[in-house]
């Protein structure tokens, strides 16, 4: 298998994402970007939707990007990438210009919500691009508003933990289900506590000709309200509680890549984060129960889809 590694030591050292950016301490974005730029071989162009990653890494006249990088607007990263991909494809034929791989980063707002139409169009048309959603489960750049990716029960500034309505009342959208329904050949979830799993999935996506979608759990100390030193611990607990199953979909087959046979109680994950603290109050147990049911149902569905494979 192309570019697969067994340990973190095998991951290339070259950094194409420069330090000095203004992302928060403990932000989950830099580990993602650094590993993506290492795992996608050869010439590449990055497109980024409006959001934390964009505003914190390209404050003119500075940039953290050692690769060509393009930002257009919030909802159109996939469409912008479509144009770049198609242009290079035709310029390669007409004028022999070298065609780079196109990588797109969008937050959950730019992917699940406002950018979903553009993403759907790009996937349907089959542009050769790796679309990566860094999902911090709310509109963090504008100050922690709920999105279609916010998990049930989480408190945000537009789904506050009120006395009558304790947080977000709807379940999280199944992004990869939507992507897979478009017929993409490869889709996978990523998590910063599992860098080898992450690296190998990105390398697999990079080897596919056509659109692929990767969905990254992006811990946000600011919006989730946890200590910035605990990013990786929080991320790992998301997997170990089955809140964030690590799996991949490859040419019609599902595979759980980190099997969690004995899950930790969901409360272990929730209690570290201010956004979930109210769910541990007895009067909000009904919401917690619904959240647990969401998690259980999704896991069971995954197990069935992957026929229990590891």
């Amino acid at each position: 298998m192309v570019g697969q590694v067994k340990s973190i030591k095998e991951i290339p050292r070259e950094e194409l994402f420069a330090p000095g950016h203004r992302l928060c301490a403990g932000c989950g974005i830099p580990p993602l970007v650094r590993i993506v730029l290492k795992a996608v071989p050869g010439p590449k162009v990055v497109v980024t939707a409006t959001g934390c990653l964009e505003v914190a890494t390209t404050i003119f006249p500075y940039t953290s990007w050692r690769v060509p990088w393009v930002h257009n607007a919030f909802e159109n990263a996939a469409a912008t990438a479509s144009g770049i991909e198609a242009a290079f494809r035709i310029l390669e034929k007409k004028r022999g210009v070298k065609r780079p791989k196109v990588i797109v980063f969008g937050g959950d707002g730019g992917t699940f919500d406002i950018g979903l139409q553009a993403l759907s169009g790009a996937l349907e048309r089959g542009h050769d691009m790796i679309y990566i959603c860094y999902d911090n489960e709310a509109y963090m750049n504008t100050g922690i508003q709920r999105s279609g990716a916010t998990p049930r029960g989480a408190a945000t500034t537009t789904s506050p933990a009120g006395r009558v309505i304790p947080g977000k009342m709807e379940r999280k959208k199944d992004l990869l289900g939507i992507a897979i329904a478009h017929g993409v050949r490869y889709a996978a979830t990523l998590n910063p506590a599992f860098p080898v799993d992450m690296y190998n999935k990105i390398a697999k996506a990079a080897a596919v000709e056509g659109p692929t979608v990767l969905h990254y759990l992006c811990p946000c100390p600011t919006g989730w309200r946890f200590d910035p030193s605990r990013t990786i611990e929080v991320a790992r607990l998301a997997v170990m509680t089955r809140m964030w199953p690590l799996y991949e979909y490859e040419d019609g087959k599902y595979r759980i890549t980190v099997m969690v046979r004995k899950p930790r109680p969901i409360e272990d994950y929730l209690k570290l984060q201010g956004r979930f603290r109210h769910l541990l109050q007895p009067e909000n147990k009904w919401v917690l129960d619904q959240l647990k049911k969401d998690v259980e149902e999704f896991w069971e569905r995954l197990v069935k889809l992957s026929s229990g494979s590891e």
Binding site: T63, G83, Q117, A118
Partner: protein, 399 residues
């Protein structure tokens, strides 16, 4: 006017406005087309899709899922170094609105045909200039075609202007929906070789290059944003002499003379009419009849709308006593419709300036009749005679 002059060897063909634009785009050998269907533009992209699928045009045709994505895709393709075309109308332009600003601010060289159509509601598919006016502040160069020949000629010239290294601004060619987009007219077309010579392949400025990584579309706050805008303002100003140059060069190739403003009867006019698009012909027809009766009227029609040919307009208008400014749109709550405000502003600092009347006409595709044009001239004569504008705003042919 719009001098349909034959030059030796040019083929005369019959085409609708949409077909003529598509043919010009094919001859321009574009690299990327991204568009979404909308009446009355659709025929343009249908023809282009045929050219691509039949192997007559080596381009990527990207059938996107919305106009917002159409323009977003064009931005990406233009930054990658491609020659890029899109087309839209009305609601489609409105959906693109956010990206219109970005396309010009990122100095892309997209060329867009806008088959002018009224904005909803009520929904209507026929001509108003709402869409062109909606784009007027967004940093795009805008041309108005008066007939199918001009739609063809201006499309070819638009690529030269947009891609000129001194300009680098996206450009719109307006053609009146249905009146031009769907009307079959005879026109002269250049040979592919002539177009290629006039318009060689795009030489992109700072395209996306993996050997020379650059950051496109960064964040710039109060410390830099202001200077970006000033540079953009300069580019728009610089485009004016470049457009004159391109017009001149195109005349050499085609034998057809273009100018930012077309003047008819202005040498001795006492009252004038200023108008955009296909109705200019009707205005001149009426002016000719009135002049035959000894009434000194003139017509100015604008081929170039942005950058606004302010000096030319002032030159022609400052010596008339009254002018009627024709707007095929309305700006609710404003002190006059859009072209009226432009012209009033252009004339304000002149010592000698005419009284101005704003005539609204033809909204949603209603015909502008010669009688209505004459009534507008009469209102101008009345103002010229009395020195007073009785009604600044008149609606021609409204029930």
């Amino acid at each position: 006017m719009a001098a349909v002059t034959q030059v030796k060897g040019q083929r005369r063909v019959g085409m609708t406005g949409d077909e003529a634009v598509a043919y010009a785009v094919k001859q321009a050998d574009v690299d990327v087309i991204a568009a979404y269907p909308i009446t009355p533009q659709t025929i343009i992209v249908e023809r282009l899709a045929e050219y691509v699928n039949n192997g007559e045009l080596n381009a990527a045709f990207i059938p996107v899922e919305s106009e917002h994505s159409a323009l977003s895709t064009c931005v990406g393709a233009s930054l990658a170094g491609a020659r890029v075309f899109t087309a839209t109308a009305s609601q489609g332009l409105a959906l693109m609105y956010e990206i219109l600003w970005i396309a010009s601010s990122m100095r892309t060289t997209i060329v867009m045909a806008l088959a002018n159509r009224a904005l909803s509601a009520p929904i209507n598919i026929h001509c108003s200039h709402d869409d062109a006016y909606a784009a007027r502040d967004t940093g795009w160069i805008q041309f108005f075609a008066e007939n199918v020949q001009e739609a063809y000629d201006l499309t070819i010239q638009a690529f030269r202007v947009a891609e000129d290294k001194r300009v680098l601004l996206p450009t719109i060619i307006n053609l009146d929906g249905f009146i031009l987009s769907h009307s079959l007219e005879g026109l002269y077309v250049l040979s592919d070789d002539e177009v290629r010579k006039f318009l060689p392949p795009k030489e992109p400025v700072n395209p996306i290059d993996v050997e020379k990584p650059m950051t496109y579309g960064p964040l710039a706050l109060y410390d830099y944003y202001y200077e970006f805008k000033r540079a953009q303002a300069e580019a728009m100003k610089t485009s004016y002499p470049v457009i004159l140059e391109v017009f001149k060069e195109y005349e050499k190739v085609s034998g057809r003379k273009y100018a930012p403003v077309k003047a008819y009867g202005m040498e001795d006019a006492e009252v004038a009419m200023v108008i955009l698009g296909s109705s200019a012909g009707t205005a001149r027809y009426v002016a000719r009849r009135m002049r035959e009766r000894g009434e000194k009227v003139g017509v100015l029609s604008l081929t170039l709308y942005r950058p606004f040919p302010e000096k030319e307009i002032v030159k022609y208008l400052k010596n008339v006593k009254a002018a009627v400014i024709m707007d095929r749109s309305y700006s609710f709550g404003s002190p006059g419709a859009q072209l009226f405000m432009d012209i009033a502003a252009a004339l304000y600092n002149e010592g000698e300036r005419p009284l101005l009347i704003n005539a609204i006409y033809g909204l949603g595709g209603r015909d502008l009749t010669p009688e209505q044009v004459e009534a507008a001239f009469r209102a101008a004569f009345e103002a010229a005679k009395t020195g007073v504008v009785k009604e600044r705003e008149i609606w021609l042919g409204v029930r």
